[in-house]
């Protein structure tokens, strides 16, 4: 239990650090008033703008005001549109999630089996092909891949609409772009984890007892491979967010990613802050859940956590 509390506390602390970092970085540079209006505005309007948005307070006071707002779920107002930042984000969130969910599904559904298959034919042609495909898939920048796919299927073949959401077919290109890179990561990792597990002495011991290859793979290899996948999944979550940001811009998708880019370009600090904070929250949550899962699934970790909390060490059962 104590472990849980400590871990949770650390997560909250990290989040606070993140918020502070983003806030001060953004606020320290650039005057949003100038950014919005440029140079040809009189000082009076500028001043009025500044007062209206509370930009005249000292920085630390602005930060406290911001924190106070956070607790009340007020993430500030967007400069450009005047609407609350959280509203903008929540409007666009479903679009983004509708991209991330299928991508997550496909990347695991394709990547993991491919990786296992490649590992089982270690050194063979299927294996080498898989590695090559994975290297290529990961080497291409997402935006370029998206553009290429768009070029082939929209411009050249004319089958699909290039941007916006016009029915379920619109999902194909963005999800494919994201899923290709994500699957490659899962495939590579699963493959090397599998190869490593298969060379562990426990496999030889099982073989020596006459257990069939099938049984060994199912009962020994797979659980040991799936375990580290938990960590990878948590990491991949961050990658998914990155892909979403890029792919939404390429395909003109009305999601949070594109909102973020537009806000960065337009120096709309409240929205940038809010988006980054949300990202941070979800990432921290994902990592936290992964850590939790490990405690349930790996007996070594469960023991280590329990032992750490005892005042008197238990003698190992010799």
């Amino acid at each position: 239990m104590t472990w849980l509390v400590i871990r949770f506390g650390r997560a909250v602390l990290t989040l606070l650090l993140l918020v502070a970092f983003v806030f001060f970085t953004l606020a320290a540079n650039g005057d949003p008033a100038l950014a919005k209006f440029g140079d040809d505005i009189d000082a009076q309007t500028l001043e009025a703008f500044r007062t209206k948005w509370g930009l005249n307070y000292p920085l630390w006071k602005q930060f406290l005001i911001y924190l106070d707002g956070l607790v009340h779920f007020d993430l500030g107002l967007s400069f450009r549109t005047g609407r609350p930042a959280w509203e903008l984000i929540f409007d666009r969130l479903p679009a983004t999630l509708s991209l991330m969910a299928p991508t997550a599904f496909f990347s695991v559904a394709i990547g993991v089996p491919v990786g296992i298959y490649a590992a089982m034919h270690h050194g063979g042609r299927a294996d080498r092909l898989t590695i090559l495909a994975a290297v290529v898939a990961l080497a291409i920048p997402s935006f370029l891949l998206g553009l290429l796919i768009m070029f082939v299927f929209s411009v050249w073949l004319g089958w699909l609409d290039p941007s916006g959401i016009t029915g379920w077919t619109s999902y194909i290109m963005p999800v494919a772009t994201m899923a290709i890179a994500a699957s490659a990561i899962f495939a590579r990792f699963t493959r090397s984890a599998m190869v490593e597990v298969m060379s562990h002495p426990m496999i030889e011991t099982a073989q020596a007892s006459g257990l069939t290859r099938r049984l060994i793979q199912r009962v020994h290899a797979l659980p040991n491979v799936l375990l580290p996948l938990i960590t990878i999944a948590a990491l991949e979550f961050g990658n998914l967010i990155t892909y979403a940001v890029i792919v939404e811009s390429v395909f003109g998708w009305p999601g949070v990613g594109r909102l973020l880019i537009e806000s960065v370009a337009g120096r709309d600090y409240a929205v940038v802050q809010a988006a980054i904070m949300m990202t941070g929250v979800t990432m921290i949550l994902a990592n936290f859940l992964a850590d939790l899962a490990y405690g349930f699934v790996d007996p070594r970790i469960a023991d280590a956590r329990r032992l750490r909390l005892r005042r008197t060490p238990r003698e190992a059962r010799a």
Binding site: T14, L15, L17, L18, F21, V22, T25, L26, A28, N29, G30, I131, L132, V135, V136, L138, A139, I140, P141, S142, F143, L144, L147, L148, M150, F151, V155, P162, G238, N239, I241, T242, V245, I246, S249, V250, L260, I261, S263, V264, A265, R267, Y269, V272, I276, T279, G280, M283, I284
Partner: protein, 276 residues
């Protein structure tokens, strides 16, 4: 030929590509047939020579009549330079901190650990976006700095792991017992052994830095005109995908070939080092 047995053809091709890129990057100026700033509005959207255009503009022209080949060469130069500085800068900075954390331990290790963990909280791209938003204007130098910040954390992690494992190795302890000081052990013993791994990591990271820079530039928040890079070019050509696809595809092809080749080389180098 033995050279084909030792180095599979794909690797040789990658070496060739990298060599060409290096030459282009180094000699972009003299190699370019036209001045990149030269606007020729009568010559807009000329297709590449092999698609019906003229050899005056081998890769065609863009919306302002500028020569794509010259622009691409300049783009290669900028992208490579940023990637090089970013990778090396990140590697040096990150490794130094990592080794420091491993060797000194204690609060130094904790502090650096917090920094590393903090950077892991949000995806690196998002972090870069935040920093970019904060810049009054995306100057070249600051952008490179952001690239360094982007990459340092994984070198720090790696160097720290290497340092910690080396510390517990008998040969390091043996040198301590013989009377060697910390500085000597780290520079003369630990570092040379770590060099191979670090270099391989750098070669794997180089294409990633190109990717990041071109992504940000493509999105319009990286390198700003009048400077250009491969990403900027693609971004500018994106709207002409229907009527003049070559504007985006030429620099796009370069990025494709460059990152794949360098990635292949990096992987191959990693296999070499791992076997040891």
């Amino acid at each position: 030929m033995t050279i084909f047995r030792t180095y599979p053809p794909l690797i040789l091709a990658s070496f060739a590509v990298v060599a060409v890129l290096f030459i282009c990057a180094a000699f972009a100026g003299p190699l370019a047939p036209h001045d990149i700033a030269q606007v020729d509005l009568l010559n807009r959207f000329r297709p590449p020579a092999l698609l019906g255009g003229e050899w005056r503009n081998p890769l065609g022209t863009d919306s302002l009549g500028r020569d794509i080949l010259s622009l691409t060469l300049r783009g290669i130069q900028v992208s490579m330079m940023i990637a090089a500085i970013g990778t090396i800068g990140g590697a040096v900075f990150g490794s130094a901190l990592g080794f420091l954390a491993a060797w000194v331990g204690g609060w130094v290790d904790n502090l650096i650990g917090i920094l590393i963990d903090f950077q892991a909280t949000v995806p690196n791209l998002i972090l870069a976006l935040a920093l970019l938003a904060a810049l009054p204007e995306a100057s070249f130098a600051l952008f490179v700095l952001i690239m360094i910040i982007y990459g340092w954390e994984q070198y720090a992690r790696l160097a720290r792991a290497i340092g910690l494992s080396a510390k517990s190795q008998p040969y390091v302890q043996a040198q301590q017992v013989l009377g060697a000081g910390a500085a000597r052990i780290v520079t003369r013993s630990i570092l040379p052994n770590a060099m191979a791994v670090l270099l391989v990591n750098m070669s794997i990271n180089f294409p990633r830095t190109i990717l990041v820079e071109s992504t940000l530039s493509f999105l319009g928040i990286g390198i700003q005109p009048p400077d250009t890079s491969l990403g900027v070019l693609i971004g500018q050509g994106r709207d002409q995908l229907y009527n003049a696809p070559w504007v985006a595809l030429a620099p796009g092809a370069v990025i494709l070939v460059a990152t794949i080749s360098i990635s292949l080389l990096g992987d191959w180098a990693r296999d070499l080092v791992d076997k040891d």
